[in-house]
């Protein structure tokens, strides 16, 4: 997916990142000097207690917000202090988002939801529909193109959201607790999909509270009190295999 970054330069590089929220007179430090590099093609899981700053980190990496201080290079380009519209362009061209609550437009078909980023990219309607269909087919929902979110299951909705994130062929997929609203079986399906996409070259960064889910990532980051406490690489479990095992136990139950 997308262009490869020269091997010398990581896909993204954060150094001494801080983020301080101010509520009235109160300053709430959410990130306190965090350094991180992620290479193209990695599958990274972020864990940590509630309130430790995981979502804040995701928002900064996702160019939804700007750090209070520190530098952020994305594909070698300094994006820490870009203006709103420039950040919107980065989100549009380079990043894809998947949220815990799916965040699909209601009363709008799956196909139209997936077309949305292409619309803002200024693509013509014929090409838009074609690309959106491809993307829906990629997540296995080709026949559900005309369904609206309330006609789809949670897992299907999340797959539509993934199709929407993929449709612009981004460098990196950011997912903040993508399985938080799904049952274990559906979570496995979503993780299997993410692993497949990662195998095709997509960089994936996800936040999760569940060690079982984090185990499907090849790299685990632990965030505590706005700092990176651990960063370890290990061989990931296969979600496909886990799914197969699940099916076997289901059949034994019958």
């Amino acid at each position: 997916m997308g262009d490869a970054v020269p091997s010398s330069e990581p896909l993204l590089r954060l150094s001494k990142i801080t983020k301080v929220y101010t509520r009235g007179d109160l300053a709430v430090p959410a990130l306190r000097g965090l350094d991180l590099q992620i290479d193209s093609g990695e599958f990274v899981a972020v864990m940590g207690p509630s309130g430790s700053g995981k979502s804040t980190l995701m928002n900064l990496i996702g160019c939804l917000d700007r750090p209070t201080s520190g530098s952020y290079f994305l594909q070698g380009r300094d994006v820490a202090q870009l203006d709103r519209d420039a950040l919107a362009q980065v989100r549009l061209r380079t990043l894809g988002f998947v949220f815990q609550g799916f965040n699909l437009l209601s009363r709008t078909t799956a196909l139209e939801n997936v077309e949305l980023p292409l619309l803002y990219a200024g693509m013509r309607s014929m090409e838009r529909a074609e690309r959106a269909r491809e993307s829906l087919a990629r997540v296995g929902l080709a026949e559900r193109a005309g369904h609206t979110p309330n006609q789809l299951s949670g897992g299907q909705q999340q797959r539509v959201a993934i199709a929407r994130a993929l449709v612009t062929k981004p460098m990196m997929l950011l997912a903040d607790e993508p399985t938080g609203n799904l049952d274990s079986r559906t979570s496995l399906e979503v993780m299997a999909l993410l692993q497949e996409l990662n195998a095709e070259g997509l960089t994936v960064l996800l936040v999760t509270h569940e060690p079982d889910i984090a185990a499907f990532a090849g790299r685990l980051l632990l965030v505590k009190d706005g700092r990176l406490r651990a960063d370890e690489r290990r061989p990931p479990h296969s979600a496909k295999q886990a799914l197969a095992e699940w099916r076997d136990t289901e059949e034994e139950d019958r």
Binding site: R84, A88, N103, L116, P117, R164, T168
Partner: protein, 407 residues
């Protein structure tokens, strides 16, 4: 292309809340309708008045005795020195004056062989037809000699002719005006309504001396009105000031005395009439302005509600890469579409109302040039942009993270 997309989105969102959209558009509907009625009727009146000035002669001055009664009842018609026959001759000397005629009026029963008709009777001199630019359709107007000799001749207006003689030619026949028999020597061409709405063709014209001595049985040298035609419309003011100075001199008024006569020009009279109509439509114009304002505020209000309701949607759009201007366009177009739908309905309603008004109110001409339609459209677009901008900008400036978290 973005614009077409925004248009589709706007229509979809408005149709989703049909009732709300309709109620919101109501202000604009009423405003545009009222505006259209104002403009169409105002223009109709202007045209009607212009046509009447054309039939009456725009360069005509009327002089009546007595100081003008402006600001209280000082003087009043009839006080001071009356106008005299000699005044007519004197005014004729003025450089910017082409014709001067005395005009006396009465109303009399006119009797033909077997019919009779109550009609205004006017006594004047030979130049009257020329002064009024009123052609004689059949026969001729009376001569100066006939006036001096108080000849028993008369000229009929079109309506009187129709009522007494139908379509047959009355020239050469006899009628009685009160007790006086007289010969019809001419019939005037039809002239239509006056600025005040009376039928100008309902008239019988006698030589001035004939009316005075044979019908009114008076020997006085007074004249109730003098009509003056300036040499051209441009000379009107010049003629007026000449007339005033001649009369002041003849009436021996000193500099500190006011005029003991009143000079009015017909164009002014018609303009007064027009002002009255404009005052009436002016009220409607205020209704239009207020409704448009209220309609605009309604749109702003509902758009603000809509932005709040759709905060999460806006957050999603921003997160996946919409720029500020994309969101701005989406909400601005929605406001404009709402306003324009109201504007189109208002234009239709206004056209209907203007037609009704004109049918009920004496048939002033109503012409629906495409310009009025464009006006209705333009005004509603302006209202939409003006009042839609603030909510749209509010939407566009939302912080994506806050918007996504909004419940």
């Amino acid at each position: 292309m973005m614009f077409l997309m925004a248009l589709r989105l706007a229509l979809r969102s408005l149709l989703r809340n049909r009732m709300r959209s309709a109620l919101t558009a109501l202000g604009v509907i009423i405003g545009v309708a009222a505006l259209l009625v104002t403009v169409v009727l105002g223009e109709g009146t202007r045209k009607m008045v212009a046509a009447q000035i054309a039939t009456m002669g725009s360069a005509i001055i009327m002089i009546v005795p007595g100081a003008s009664a402006q600001g209280g009842f000082m003087g009043g018609t009839g006080s001071g020195r009356p106008l005299q026959r000699d005044d007519v001759e004197a005014i004729l000397q003025a450089r910017a004056v082409r014709y001067v005629v005395p005009v006396d009026r009465t109303v009399a029963q006119v009797v033909s062989s077997n019919l009779n008709w109550q009609t205004p009777v006017l006594g004047t001199t030979t130049d009257y037809a020329a002064l009024r630019d009123w052609p004689v359709a059949r026969g001729r107007f009376f001569t100066a000699a006939e006036n001096e000799s108080a000849a028993k001749v008369c000229v009929l207006g079109h309506t009187v002719t129709q009522n007494l003689f139908g379509d047959s030619d009355p020239v050469g026949q006899q009628v009685r005006v009160k007790q006086m028999p007289c010969e019809i020597i001419g019939v005037l061409a039809p002239k239509g309504q006056s600025a005040m709405g009376s039928d100008q063709d309902d008239i019988l014209i006698l030589p001035s001396v004939t009316l005075r001595t044979r019908v009114l049985n008076q020997n006085r040298q007074y004249v109730s009105t003098i009509m003056v035609a300036a040499t051209s419309e441009d000379d009107l003011a010049q003629a007026e000031s000449e007339v005033v100075s001649i009369l002041r001199q003849r009436h021996k008024l000193t500099d500190d005395q006011e005029n003991d006569f009143t000079v009015r020009n017909l164009a002014e009279l018609v303009q007064t009439q027009q002002k009255i109509v404009e005052t009436q439509t002016g009220m409607l114009r205020n209704v239009a302005a207020v409704s448009l304002l209220v309609g605009g505020i309604g749109i702003m209000n509902i758009m603000l509600v809509s932005v709040t309701e759709r905060t999460r949607e806006i957050g999603i759009r921003l997160a996946i890469g919409a720029r500020e201007r994309d969101i701005l366009l989406q909400f601005l177009v929605e406001a404009v579409v709402l306003s324009v739908l109201g504007g189109l309905l208002g234009t239709g309603l206004g056209a209907l109302a203007a037609t009704l008004f004109s049918k009920l109110g004496g048939g002033m001409p109503v012409d629906f040039s495409p310009f009025w339609m464009v006006l209705g459209f333009g005004v509603s677009v302006a209202i939409g942009v003006l009042f839609g901008f603030y909510p749209a900008r509010k939407a566009a400036r939302l912080d994506p993270i806050d918007a996504l978290r909004y419940e």
